[in-house]
């Protein structure tokens, strides 16, 4: 029973990009799970390994140069990484769908949007052409585009509309898991609000689970149940939405929150994280965040941090907690 609740289980995933003269350690020993119907937010900066993790779940890592070094990815009880190419095509688009960041480039310019939605339905649901096109029109209505527009081409739609079409394609076969990689980054704020609202509504309606990749903590706050923070290929903190936003523990998570302008206090000076993310081809032996961390001690650079748990769902990877007295400066948010 307990086991069945978990839809996606990623265990100790390590992905490298092996180039001629160097190796990029893109994902390092990442473990995560998503329960049915829940949303996990994956946050981190450019190059943290968020997209690579998502591509590995779909077994879409470009090879070469990408190599899945180790790990096990179980989706609905099946090991994704052991599937053949043919078996994978049945899973992609049917069990798991993915929405990419840029709606401008994820649609094919020479096919009508109706045909592009119908394609997935013909492959996975074995519908004939006219039935698939009819269902495609229904899907368009669901995402708020008049069904008559199914015969139009992508260039006839605006950015927000194109992203809706992409969502319609992704949801056409009613997937159990939707992976959304920065789905609203290319959109304007008012359109972003529309698309997020649509995604939330559809998620509720179909009871689907979602992996939402974003760098925007505001979007996470609105849509997610759980949050995992990635840095230099590792998940450095994970917890429920409340645990991450109200009682963050990792110094990097603290730094992320401090970097954001405070909407309540506009005069407050920003506190950026000093320095830059380490070069993923030359990662330090110990904690990758240590060179930028205000709390780091000499041992942090040498020793790989271990998971420190704070209750059932919340953990972070930080050696400073070896000292039981240690606390980050950010104060816990307690509701009155």
């Amino acid at each position: 029973m307990e086991k069945n609740k978990i839809l996606l289980d990623v265990n100790h995933l390590t992905v490298n990009y092996e180039l001629e003269d160097e190796t990029v350690e893109a994902v390092r020993d990442v473990s995560l799970y998503i329960e049915r119907g829940k949303t996990l937010g994956l946050v981190g900066e450019t190059g943290a390994g968020k997209t690579t993790t998502a591509l590995a779940i779909l077994n879409l890592i470009p090879d070469p140069p990408g190599v899945i070094k180790s790990g096990k990815i179980t989706l609905d009880g099946e090991n994704v990484l052991e599937k053949s190419m043919k078996e994978m095509t049945h899973i992609r688009g049917k069990e798991v769908s993915m929405i990419f960041q840029d709606p401008m480039t994820s649609l094919n310019p020479v096919f009508t949007v109706g045909d592009q939605i119908a394609e997935a339905l013909m492959i996975h649901e074995k519908l004939d052409k006219s039935a698939a096109f009819k269902k495609a029109q229904e899907m368009l209505e669901i995402v708020g585009i008049p069904g008559e527009r199914a015969g139009e081409y992508p260039h006839q739609f605006s950015g927000g509309m194109k992203q809706r079409v992409v969502i319609a394609i992704a949801l056409a076969c009613n997937p159990q898991l939707l992976i959304a990689d920065e789905p609203t980054t290319a959109l304007d704020v008012t359109i972003q609000a529309q698309v997020l609202d649509l995604m939330k509504e559809l998620k509720k309606r179909y009871g689907m689970a979602m992996l939402l990749i974003t760098h925007d903590l505001g979007i996470i706050a609105e849509t997610c149940d759980y949050v995992a923070v990635m840095y230099a290929g590792q998940i450095i903190e994970r917890g429920t939405l409340e645990e991450i936003f109200n009682t963050a523990r990792h110094p990097y998570t603290e730094g992320l929150f401090n970097s954001l302008p405070n909407i309540a206090d506009r005069k407050e000076r920003l506190k950026p994280i000093p320095g830059l993310m380490p070069d993923p081809t030359k990662l330090p032996k110990g904690c990758a965040f240590a060179p930028r961390c205000p709390y780091a001690s000499a041992s942090c650079i040498e020793e790989m941090p271990e998971e420190v748990h704070f209750g059932g769902t919340h953990f972070c990877r930080c050696n400073a907690y070896k000292n039981p007295e240690f606390r980050i400066e950010r104060e816990d948010i307690v509701y009155e």
């Binding site: 900066e45 450019t46 605006s158 950015g159 927000g160 509309m161 304007d188 704020v189 008012t190 359109i191 972003q192 609000a193 529309q194 997020l196 609202d197 760098h215 925007d216 903590l217 505001g218 979007i219 996470i220 706050a221 609105e222 939405l241 409340e242 936003f245 109200n246 730094g255 992320l256 929150f257 401090n258 970097s259 954001l260 302008p261 405070n262 909407i263 309540a264 506009r266 000076r269 920003l270 506190k271 950026p272 994280i273 000093p274 830059l276 948010i333 509701y335």
Partner: protein
């Protein structure tokens, strides 16, 4: 005495298209005082970047006055304008495409100095470049690096150093941090803030990110389809937005704080085309609170409270306040 550095009056930029006139900037007026920051916000296609570029005449305005430090830039010849641009600099959004990939950091920063004949002699120029690099927080060892060797934050620092090299009075920042990660974004915003304090710079800060503009600006102007629909001091605008579009825009910001709960105003539809606009409120088709007047006539930008300007028929009579 108010110390006005820039006064833009009735600025218009129309582009000819096959379908008719595209009103990219339609009768925009504003003033900026020395040492202050004006934020211009709006969605893509609202004319905020075109406004910025028209001020520098990187795009020739169709009509309007641009009075900078007492001189109307719109009347200058190209040669005179080139001189005037020494006082107005621009920082672009994308540090990946705004630098010449074949120039080293030294060459990139030295270029405007040499162009404007500010300093003569290789050694003196190099000394000045090193000074500028220090000002913007670039390590000395990077002086011979090429842009592709540097990350986005450092490239944006080169862009800032280039802008500073000619000692401008006004810097137009066109989405200077939107291509950067949050932790780097905060570094650059702090740098711009420090420079303003140290050098007494005046900024026009163009962005779509409302939380950034709130943090950074003294005054904020909201643009929609080429028109300024609301302008007020930052605090006032956030505390008391009056135009329905501004309200929707503010409510759409995702806030990274779980305590912050607000009613979201979801707008119907999308920004319409700015080609051949009818004489009615531009926001009419997406607006959720309209009156009979909205369809008939374009509302004017009026001062409804001290320093708070709104272009909305409902706000004129105060029923929407």
């Amino acid at each position: 005495m108010s110390d006005t550095l820039l006064e833009v009056k009735n600025l218009k930029k129309y582009f000819k298209t096959s379908k008719g006139l595209l009103h990219a900037v339609d009768d925009v007026s504003f003033t900026i005082e020395r040492g202050k920051t004006l934020g211009i916000v709006g969605e893509s296609g609202c004319g905020k970047s075109t406004t910025g570029r028209c001020i520098m005449r990187l795009i020739e305005p169709t009509s309007g006055k641009i009075v900078f430090d007492g001189i109307d830039l719109a009347t200058l010849s190209n040669r005179q304008m080139r001189k005037a641009r020494k006082d107005i600099q621009i920082i672009f959004q994308d540090p990946f495409s705004s630098l010449d990939p074949r120039q080293t950091v030294l060459q990139a920063i030295a270029e405007p100095i040499i162009q404007n004949k500010l300093i003569k002699g290789t050694a003196a120029i190099e000394k000045r470049v090193l000074e500028l690099m220090e000002t913007v927080g670039l390590a000395e060892r990077l002086i011979n690096s090429y842009p592709h060797e540097l990350d986005g934050g450092r490239r944006q620092r080169i862009g800032i150093a280039r802008a500073l090299s000619v000692e401008p009075k006004l810097i137009i920042c066109d989405e200077p941090v939107s291509a950067l990660d949050v932790s780097i974004q905060a570094q650059i915003l702090n740098l711009l803030e420090d420079l303003q304090e140290k050098l007494g710079l005046t900024y026009i800060f163009i962005t779509h990110d409302l939380s950034v503009v709130n943090h950074f600006s003294d005054d904020i102007a909201v643009m929609y389809l080429g028109k300024m629909v609301e302008k007020a001091p930052a605090e006032e605008l956030f505390a008391n937005p009056m135009h329905p579009y501004t309200k929707a825009l503010l409510s759409a910001i995702p806030v990274p704080d779980l305590r912050y709960k607000q009613e979201r105003i979801l707008l119907k539809g999308e920004i319409t085309s700015p080609v051949n606009l009818p004489d009615q409120c531009r926001f009419f088709k997406r607006c959720y609170s309209t009156c009979a007047k909205c369809k008939g006539k374009e509302p004017e930008l009026l001062e409804v409270r001290p320093n708070h300007f709104v272009a909305c028929h409902l706000c004129e009579v105060g029923t929407n306040a």
